[in-house]
């Protein structure tokens, strides 16, 4: 991971501050308030699981971080720098396209419905962005793609097209594709929700492997409580557009303080 010498140094020291910080973020769709004065901090290298009922704003958090949605109020900081605003001559103005693209390069996302490029093989899917965006040579991009696809267990399916792969395999390709851009933050948006149950495990194994082997901050929206319990450093329970309760998994899953958290976890248990 190269450091860009032209990065503006924010007041907070880059090396010690949080990797991601949401400050009083608000987002509404018309009259529906989706994120309500949200404050959230994620430390470097931390693995955070986000749980909660639908409509609580979980996915919106990830989408805003990935700049797929705009925030109405508040600020988001990534790697010490503001995301949706930028520093121009000491003043804070709305980000221009160039700033957004630079910041976006630090973040990667894996989607619920994979969104693989159907007209490209698995390897090509992983090579595309490193070539066109990072300017890697074809050889370099291919080497990186092969390495990552082996890592996710698909070293023998390099030239298969998405239509020839199972859901679990496609999702693993999607993970490799995102990692090929060497992001500092990886976002996982309900990545197993669209999979048949027997395919969920292979994807979760890959995520475990990434958590262990790579130095990357991870935010994961998930319904897989068992996995979250074992994998996350911290669990955030979202309700009504803000964090209702958060803490280490032992605390949240075993002895939650908030009544709503308890209700939610009880309902989840009843479903299994």
């Amino acid at each position: 991971m190269s450091t860009d010498p032209s990065v503006a140094i924010s007041p907070v020291d880059e090396r010690s501050g949080p990797m991601v910080r949401f400050e009083k973020v608000m987002k509404s769709y018309g009259s529906l308030v989706v994120l309500n004065d949200l404050d959230l901090e994620v430390a470097r290298g931390e693995k955070v699981a986000i749980i909660g009922p639908s409509g609580s704003g979980k996915t919106t958090v990830l989408r805003m971080l990935m700049t797929l949605e705009r925030i109405d109020r508040g600020m988001i900081f990534v790697d010490g720098e503001p995301l949706t605003s930028m520093n121009r001559n000491g003043e804070l103005v709305a980000s221009d396209a160039k700033h957004l693209r630079r910041m976006r390069g630090k973040i990667g996302m894996v989607f619920q419905h994979f969104n693989l490029f159907p007209h490209m093989s698995a390897l090509k899917n992983c090579m595309e962005a490193p070539c066109t965006v990072l300017g890697l040579s074809k050889m370099e991009a291919e080497a990186r793609g092969r390495e990552l696809l082996s890592m996710v267990g698909l070293g023998d399916k390099l030239f298969h097209y998405p239509s020839q792969l199972s859901g679990g395999q496609q999702q693993r390709v999607a993970i490799a594709r995102a990692l090929a851009m060497r992001p500092k933050v990886m976002l996982f948006d309900e990545v197993t929700s669209a999979l048949d149950p027997e395919l969920v495990g292979e994807v979760l194994n890959v995520i475990r492997k990434i958590a262990a082997e790579l130095d990357v901050t991870m935010l994961m929206v998930t319904h897989q409580m068992g996995f979250a319990k074992e994998f996350a450093d911290r669990v955030c329970f979202f309700y009504g557009g803000r964090i209702c309760e958060q803490g280490p998994p032992e605390k949240i899953f075993v002895s939650p303080e908030n009544e709503r958290t308890r209700q939610f976890l009880r309902a989840c248990l009843e479903a299994t």
Binding site: M66, L68, G108, F111, P118, H119, E128, P162, G167, M181
Partner: protein, 242 residues
């Protein structure tokens, strides 16, 4: 949709057979009509190429361009869709010289028809590009691709195959519209037909044969489009992506 070319081919074969069997004078018309058919095909091909270019430029400008470019695209599309092809043809033929631009009739024909069909084609392009799933766009954002890169490498390739059948229909429309160029004295198939009719007055034979010729070219276009679709779909390894 699948039975359409079959019905058409059957009629084609039947009428061709009827014509050859019944009309003794068939042979004397043939050379002149074939000459005309070549001109018709020339204009059809030239006009089609121009139409595709205009359609892509206009549609992409309208969807993703800055407002001046978008405005021009909208004006182009509305004007050429809202006015008659013949009016456009005559305007370019009679009025353009007054601007100091004198073109060969053949060039005027290709220009007018290409611009006309291009305006309708813009809607086809727009529809196909809009139909590419949103998730594809979001994946390109997640991978930090620029809009241009996303369009060129990811979205447009996926939009191309669904575009082929409607374009096939538009090319056949263009073929039919080429008949108008006979009215600006270009020696195409329609012109030859009128010429021969004026000298021999064997209306039924001449025009029947000419109609069959046009039909034959239309069938060729349909067959070409079907083959293109088959090749393209194979090359892109289509199938349910998720």
């Amino acid at each position: 949709m699948a039975h359409r070319p079959l019905v058409v081919c059957a009629i084609l074969a039947f009428t061709a057979g009827l014509v050859i069997a019944s009309f003794a004078g068939f042979r004397e018309f043939l050379p002149g009509l074939l000459e005309g058919a070549l001109v018709t095909i020339e204009i059809t091909v030239g006009g089609s190429v121009l139409a595709v270019i205009c359609a892509f430029v206009a549609a992409l400008s309208k969807m993703y361009g800055a407002w001046p470019v978008r405005g021009l695209a909208v004006i182009y599309i509305e004007v050429f869709r809202g006015t008659s092809a013949l009016v456009q043809l005559f305007w370019l033929f009679f009025v353009l010289p007054r601007f100091g631009i004198t073109l060969e009739p053949l060039t005027v024909a290709i220009l007018a028809l290409g611009l006309n069909v291009g305006a309708y084609g813009a809607e086809v392009v727009r529809g196909a590009v809009s139909a590419v799933p949103r998730g594809q766009w979001e994946a390109t954002v997640a991978l930090n691709m620029s809009r241009f890169q996303a369009l060129r490498r990811i979205v447009l390739p996926q939009a191309l195959v669904p575009m082929i059948p409607p374009w096939g229909n538009l090319f056949i429309e263009l073929l039919k519209t080429t008949a108008l160029v006979s009215l600006i004295t270009i020696s195409d198939l329609a012109f030859k037909a009128q010429e021969m009719n004026a000298t021999t007055y064997r209306t039924v034979e001449i025009f029947s044969i000419v109609l069959v010729f046009y039909l034959a070219i239309a069938v060729l276009i349909t067959v070409a489009m079907r083959s293109l679709e088959w090749f393209a779909a194979r090359g892109l390894a289509r199938g349910p992506a998720q």
